[in-house]
């Protein structure tokens, strides 16, 4: 990885962090409605994995989708505008935080029903295989999503049909307030791959370089021989969504994890192992701060969708 790529990854992680902080502030100001699920703590996952994809590779994830959207190349402007329900948002204000998407960068959404996007991923991969493309579909989901029927049906079908899907479990140890131990029969999500005879591995999601490498290997495996389950262990520093009482974990536990801040870990590596100067990184962070400020301004100043748009985009042909 060359220097500029190294810095690009760092910038991306910081961008996601600042974007989420800005979103949290906008939510506190009552400018964002509905649910808001922050990606803070998990930045190395989307950044590392998606840095390894090719442009033709599709990406799809669940509702905790801001980081993935940014890593796919969606602008903070379009993300924040969607969070504010503006016409300039990725989904014209119809989807909100949980439903970001931009087909032009091959990001197929943000999906709010746990597990429901796994079959969609299988279907997209089927389409690529059907056409003889070598594209892979990268499907992100949480640890909690691995206990629902969708997971089983999609993983089984992907093996039976040898579909080019990289199944990526972001194991942040909890599904809302329920720990993996209380919801899953097996402690490591990767073990579930054994039930499908599916190759798999597990990687530390706080280290963006390890994530990136694991993703490169997994993507190669998928292109060579079909589905693969990549478990990435991580942690969300914030609550499940805004207003989570967090009775299910101690602040000690949270603090211990925060010492493994993926941005901090990578920053240390850059300065100590890649001889990047702290000054350069500070400068880069300052630029990111400005970019986010500008994006917030853009989102706030963007127009609301017109009332007539209520009936738009429901059917491709005719309306009712």
């Amino acid at each position: 990885m060359n220097r500029s790529e190294q810095l690009r990854l760092y910038r991306e992680m910081v961008l996601v962090r600042r974007l989420e902080e800005a979103a949290a502030a906008l939510y506190q100001q009552g400018k964002i409605g509905g649910f808001l699920h922050l990606y803070i703590g998990q930045e190395a996952v989307s950044t590392g994995v998606i840095s390894a994809r090719k442009p033709q590779d599709r990406v799809i994830t669940a509702y905790r989708d801001h980081g993935v959207a940014i890593s796919c190349g969606i602008s903070p402007e379009a993300v924040l505008a969607e969070l504010l329900g503006k016409a300039t948002g990725t989904s014209k204000g119809k989807g909100g935080s949980m439903h970001l998407a931009d087909v032009s960068v091959n990001f197929w959404g943000g999906h709010a029903i746990v597990g429901a996007h796994l079959p969609l991923a299988a279907g997209m991969a089927l389409a690529d295989k059907y056409r003889g493309s070598d594209a892979v579909t990268l499907c992100f989901f949480g640890d909690g999503a691995t206990n629902i029927g969708y997971f089983h049906e999609a993983l089984n079908l992907s093996m039976v049909w040898r579909l080019p899907v990289l199944w990526i479990c972001e194991n942040n140890l909890y599904g809302m307030g329920t720990s993996v131990a209380r919801a899953s029969a097996v402690p490591e999500i990767r073990q579930k791959a054994d039930g499908y005879g599916m190759p798999n591995s597990r990687v530390d999601g706080m280290n963006v370089l390890e994530v990136r490498q694991a993703a490169e290997e997994a993507l190669a495996a998928v292109r060579a021989s079909g589905p693969y389950l990549l478990e990435i262990t991580t942690y969300r520093f914030r609550g499940h969504s805004m207003g989570d009482p967090e009775r299910y974990r101690t602040s000690d536990e949270v603090q211990r994890w925060q010492q493994d801040d993926p941005i901090g870990i990578y920053r240390t590596w850059l300065t100590e192992k890649a001889s990047v100067s702290a000054k350069d990184l500070d400068k880069l962070e300052a630029e990111v701060d400005q970019a986010i400020e500008a994006a917030v301004r853009f989102a706030e100043e963007s127009p609301e969708p017109a009332l007539e748009s209520l009936y738009a985009d429901i059917y491709a042909e005719g309306a009712e």
């Binding site: 599709r58 948002g89 990725t90 989904s91 014209k92 204000g93 119809k94 989807g95 439903h99 998407a101 931009d102 087909v103 197929w108 959404g109 029903i113 429901a116 796994l118 079959p119 969609l120 991923a121 299988a122 279907g123 997209m124 991969a125 089927l126 389409a127 690529d128 059907y130 029927g149 969708y150 049906e153 999609a154 089984n156 079908l157 039976v160 049909w161 738009a312 985009d313 429901i314 059917y315 491709a316 042909e317 005719g318 009712e320």
Partner: protein, 318 residues
């Protein structure tokens, strides 16, 4: 009607490379109702895909493939199993487009065979068409004649919108004129299947056949019912119904499913709303008794709408 549906599928598969079929037993077996018999050998395993027994990934993968530009025809062995794919149908097929501001197009067809009358027991004999018709974002089609089945299925496959295509298991034997080749019927257009003057019978799917029989019987007594076939439940085309009703001023709505919260309620409510001044008598509803269908033949038939029930209902509104 079986041939008409087979033809529609065959012709669209031949016409458009993007069209493929997936479902349980659609391939090697040839379709549980023999609708896709011979398809597997002709089109091969890539386009005629046998799936595991897993309805939610059948419809879900179809949704995904449709988003990615293919035109899947997902077959649910029976509509009763659609409840195992309910989230994919009503939360995804129906909403993926609008929820993302129109970025996604989901040209999926979900074929589902429904209906009672074959002693399959309560879980395998339902006619829950109305449940799917309730959801904006879906189009719900349920043909009652072979040529409509062919024309509407071809239209459904060519439609860029998700279409729930509901067939009736006991209609497969129905014979009827089917023009060869390019038969296309517009989705969302009701049709007068029998002209008349004394009363309007509004119906669809299997009940169209029973309604036509009832009409013949009544015609013997000098009563000439006009029979309007909805063909599509969403979008619901009320114009032909209202035109007819404004002439007859009397109506009976006939459906196979349960009466409460059924199709007839909506149709009746709309007639009253849009043709109030033309109403000469309460609108009648003929529907299934409100019981899970029993296995026993006599009990099952007692619960299902019969020709005599339609005849009686028509006499009541006259």
């Amino acid at each position: 009607m079986r041939e008409a549906i087979s033809q529609a599928l065959w012709e669209e598969l031949e016409r458009d490379e993007r069209v493929f079929i997936l479902g349980e037993e659609v391939g090697v077996w040839g379709g549980t109702y023999a609708v896709t018999k011979g398809f597997y050998d002709h089109f091969g395993p890539e386009r005629i895909r046998d799936t595991p027994i897993a309805e939610s990934v059948i419809v879900g993968a179809a949704n995904g493939a449709a988003m990615a530009g293919l035109r899947p025809v997902a077959e649910l062995m029976t509509i009763n199993f659609a409840f195992l794919a309910m989230d994919q149908i009503v939360n995804h097929s129906a909403k993926l487009r609008s929820m993302f501001g129109g970025q996604f197009t989901v040209p999926v067809v979900i074929r589902a065979v429904g209906g009672g009358g074959r002693q399959l027991g309560a879980t395998h004999s339902q006619t829950p068409d109305v449940v799917f018709a309730h959801f904006p974002g879906l189009k719900v089609v349920a043909p009652g004649t072979p040529s409509d089945a062919k024309g509407l299925l071809k239209a459904a496959i060519r439609s860029d919108d998700p279409v729930m295509f509901i067939e009736h298991a006991t209609l497969y034997q129905t014979r009827g004129e089917v023009p060869d080749g390019e038969v296309l019927e517009p989705i969302g257009v009701s049709k007068v299947q029998r002209p008349g003057r004394d009363v309007t019978i509004v119906t669809y799917s299997k009940m169209l056949q029973l309604s036509l029989q009832a009409a013949e019987q009544l015609s013997g007594e000098g009563i000439e019912p006009e029979v309007v076939d909805l063909r599509t439940l969403r979008p619901l085309d009320m114009e032909p119904v209202l035109d007819s009703f404004r002439r007859t001023n009397r109506a009976v709505i006939v459906e196979e499913g349960w009466r409460s919260f059924g199709v007839g309620a909506e149709v009746a409510a709309r007639i009253y709303e849009e043709a109030f001044d033309y109403v000469d008598a309460p609108i009648g509803r003929v529907a299934q008794k409100e019981v899970p269908l029993p296995y026993n033949h006599r009990l099952e038939q007692a619960a299902l709408p019969q020709v005599e029930d339609i005849v009686r209902a028509v006499r009541e509104v006259l």
